[in-house]
């Protein structure tokens, strides 16, 4: 069921029932001295399991900054973030890093594959760090994920030997590697043609639904946004 929510709903955010991720009153300043700008002005947001949420808005409105805050890649200047009910904002770097490893998968606009490694190695990379599976199980799961994104025949190709769409599909498989409860995607289709955009989004949405994972994606693409369960629009550092 699709809902389009253009207003902040503090009541829903405060309850947080079933929310994989929840943030309250997030504030973030960037720059120094006279160039200091408030990018997030007290954002409250949540995403539930199985939900695909889109964050839309003009460039510079704070969408990506919010996404990095939710992904614990950046610390807020004020406000709180919970992941699976655990308060993660203002914790140590090691705790936030461990939380990323266990709970979060990222897909970036520019795939950020490690080009010296094969597709299989790229997908196994987060699994190797988490160390939950043995080498054989890790390889089997990586092959399964690559198969799921349609790259079962190209597992041993290096990143440089794959097309842009294929690289982004490897990035999707990598984001799903540790079975995270939350997938954060920063314009995952922003660098792809229409056909590949649809393919990548469908993959992301389908696999997240199948695994009951929450997806929060930032997009400029209205067609992609329309296909999400929840759409939140941002302007000047706030949901509108």
């Amino acid at each position: 069921m699709k809902t389009t929510d253009t207003t902040t709903t503090p009541a829903a955010a405060n309850t947080g029932e079933g929310a994989v991720i929840r943030c309250e009153n997030l504030q973030r300043f960037l720059g120094k001295d006279e160039g200091r700008v408030q990018v997030l002005r007290g954002v409250t947001f949540e995403a539930k399991r199985g939900q695909v949420c889109a964050i839309v808005g003009p460039s510079g409105c704070g969408k990506s900054t919010l996404l990095y805050q939710l992904g614990l890649l950046d610390q807020p200047d004020a406000g709180s973030i919970w992941i699976d009910g655990e308060l993660m904002s203002n914790t140590s770097d090691d705790l936030r890093t461990a939380a990323r490893s266990r709970h979060i998968g990222f897909v970036f606009q520019f795939h950020f594959l490690m080009l010296e490694f094969s597709a299989l190695d790229n997908v196994m990379m987060p699994m190797r760090k988490l160390g939950r599976l043995g080498p054989v199980e890790m390889e089997a799961r990586a092959k399964l994920l690559l198969d799921a994104v349609g790259l079962g025949q190209k597992t041993h190709r290096l990143g440089t030997q794959l097309s842009g769409g294929e690289q982004q599909r490897v990035a999707v498989a990598r984001a799903l590697a540790n079975e995270p409860s939350l997938i954060l995607a920063d314009e995952p289709t922003g660098n792809l043609d229409a056909a590949n955009s649809t393919l990548v989004f469908d993959l992301l949405a389908r696999l997240a639904k199948e695994n009951n994972q929450a997806v929060v994606l930032v997009t400029h693409n209205p067609e992609i946004a329309q296909r999400c369960d929840v759409v939140r629009a941002m302007k000047d550092g706030l949901f509108v």
Binding site: T65, T97, A98, R100, M114, E116, M125
Partner: protein, 420 residues
Amino acid sequence: MMSPNLRIALRFLTARKRSMFMSLTGIVFGVGFFIVTQAQTSGFEQFFIKTILGTNGAIRIQDKFQPSLFTMRGGESEANEGKPGFSIEAESSRKYVEGVEDPARISEAVRRFGNVSGVSTVVQGIVNLVTDVGTGDARVYGIQLDDHLAVSDLGTQIIRGSLADYRETPNGSLVGSVLAQRENLRVGDGYMLEVGGQMRRYRVSAIYETGVSDIDRVRVYLHLSEARSLLKKPIGASFLQVNLFDRDRAREDARSMEVVIGHAVSPWQAREKTWLAVFSALRFSSAITVSTIILISGLGMFNTLAMLVIEKTKDIAILRSMGYTRTDITRIFLWQGVLVLIGGVVLGWVFGALATYGVSKIPIRIRGIFTSDSFVVSWQWEHYAAAGIIAAAVVLAASWIPARRAARLEPGDVVRGTAL
């Protein structure tokens, strides 16, 4: 199973193959040259020590000294009826009596030291050596052959003639090779020694060569009794030459002997301190010079890794987003340094060993403080360890700074494009 950090480090290494190869080559040459220069300087030093120990022994006991302690008194006062309140024992400058008065007693005392392997009584004096060619200065050393063979390498220094002939001939003598050449003396030839207006005839039983030209040019060995008679020294000795099982304990043993026997005792390190200081300075100087090669390759390594950090900021950010900690990132870059270091040091050791072997085969004629017809090298594991330690210190320091910089990158800044 290979750690994820090591696996990533190995792949990153291939990202800048040429630069890494240059750094590796620098370390190989640095380590190799360090080893070969140390092997040479140590080799010559060891050879010199062996030569002087084989010629002059580890310890020499010479002049007797008189007790030099005196008492200073002070603190006289009316309260203690003009008697001294305190006294201090102090050492004044020593007064020496030339030679060893009772060599048999001193020898016996010295032999009781556990580290002493032999003692030889030597009577020496300056004489004129007269031959058909002319007259020249010489220094007579009167020795008991068996005693002296126990404290020197005289037995192996004979290059012509034989010790058996010397042993059986009362007026036999052992003549230094340079002296023999200068005076045109051959084995079996006769010559005269003159001292104090007295002349005696001797026969060349053998010609020796120590390699130390100062010795080979003047020294003539005679039987002790013959030397006593010639030099008119019927009792006593000029000095005692002592050999030790462990030559490195010579200083300690010399100090103990001085206390026990009341004679000046000089260990080989004190006697040869000038040459030893020269060798030490040469070794240190060559170590510093060659270490600059390692230092320069370390700078190259630093540059390569610093560039790699800039190139790999996105990879670092993605690793951080996947749960790799700052420590993991530090380790990934340190591993690269360690891998280059291990490769460089191992190959450097092999190169150093091969170069050392090659250098030892280069023919070179050395005469003066010792005699050698090729480069003398010393195979010591310490040279390999020192080269490895220097390379490790330089490479790890060069890797640490870029590694820390990589670890400090904020993944949020990188993906936002504001990092670096």
